[in-house]
Symmetry: C2
Subunit: 202 residues, 2 copies
DNA sequence: GGGAGCATGTAACGGGTTACATGATTGG
DNA sequence: CCAATCATGTAACCCGTTACATGCTCCC
């Protein structure tokens, strides 16, 4: 109803990024349920953007459908389970492409509880710190293993070239995270050797 | 008022992590204003946990004081500016140490808008993708420079051993982030060379 | 004089979480 | 038969953000 001419954005009540993530999953062309989307997000998006809660996914799906960016239908009776399948619309593809073109890229968000704890090391003890970092090292290794497994699946198919590329990126990221944990463990060790630093013979 | 005997936690209506971050800043012993805390967070915590909004810091300070974890006083009249200075209390130190000892370490939160965009590369174009990643590369380099500068300040003082250690960790983290961006740029380049991949001689 | 930075807040909003509720189907 | 998984939601909560309001002081 506005008198302005706006090309791509008649009604863009700008959606939260999570909505674009969900629409992004649908943009690969498959018809999926909320549950499916969750599983897939756990196996892909999780490594670089976390994975939204189920309830959040359902909310975004309803919103996307209200916006005309997706359509849904109940699964046909042949399907054993009652569920609702979502598909992206041309308008949805357009909107997603427009978001990619125009929305400014937000700075990456990092909340690193392990770094926070070491930073407050003066209120902790060496053993606890060491254990915390070691657990994180194992977590990073696990993430690396999982993202590697995910990548192995969709390799060599040009349709999945970009997801595969980001999975490679994820491998590098989590390998670096593991290595940084190792370096931190080494730093912690040298710090603990220092206090009795009245070294007899230099 | 409870009949139970609970050593460290008579009334722990568990605070959000941001409150512990603010209390953590105060745990280094200085008496600071909300504004001071914000500046300091920008120069330290930001590199591994983001930096909360001013309004959030003020809110947490009020809450910490209500809990008895911090006390405040107006700055003395000698100070040119009207402000309120906060100091950690023994109870606050106790509570923070208790949190470090007992609270489970949350998994690190990562929301990487650049990875998200490349993951959706099929809806974008090579030039845009390349520019996005390049900008991120520069962002990571900037973060690296800034954390290095911060580290240079407090080096070699045992009081700041743990913060310095985390600044070293931050340098590794942001260097790795920059290198991962470079690797991603290389991957993007090879992908763009591939489409005319009817290679004449294998 | 005026802009940059100092300093403290209030108000509105909403995104994303956990907890809860419900019920079907599959497979050991 | 019973647990795990599939499948979809509602309700409450609150963290954290942006936008706004206010006024001071420093320095060019």
């Amino acid at each position: 109803m506005s008198s302005r001419h706006i090309q791509y954005a008649a009604d863009v009540e700008s959606l939260p990024t999570t909505a674009w993530v969900v629409l992004g999953l649908l943009s690969f062309g498959r018809e999926l349920s909320g549950y499916d989307l969750r599983k897939w997000a756990e196996a892909s998006v999780r490594f670089f953007y976390g994975s939204p809660a189920m309830s959040q996914i359902y909310r975004e799906l309803r919103r996307l459908e209200a916006q005309g960016y997706a359509v849904s239908r109940p699964a046909p009776p042949e399907e054993p389970r009652r569920k609702r399948l979502y598909r992206i619309t041309p308008a949805g593809l357009d909107a997603l492409a427009g978001w990619l073109r125009e929305a400014p890229v937000e700075a990456p968000v990092l909340k690193h509880g392990v770094a926070l704890r070491v930073w407050l090391g003066h209120l902790s003890d060496p053993a606890t710190l060491r254990r915390t970092v070691l657990e994180h090292r194992e977590f990073a290794q696990r993430m690396l293993d999982e993202v590697s497994a995910a990548r192995a699946v969709a390799e060599h198919d040009p349709t999945w070239a970009y997801p595969a590329m980001i999975e490679r990126w994820g491998e590098r990221y989590w390998a670096a995270e593991r290595d940084a944990a190792d370096a931190l463990l080494a730093d912690l060790a040298t710090l603990n050797q220092q206090p009795p630093a009245t070294s007899p013979v230099p």
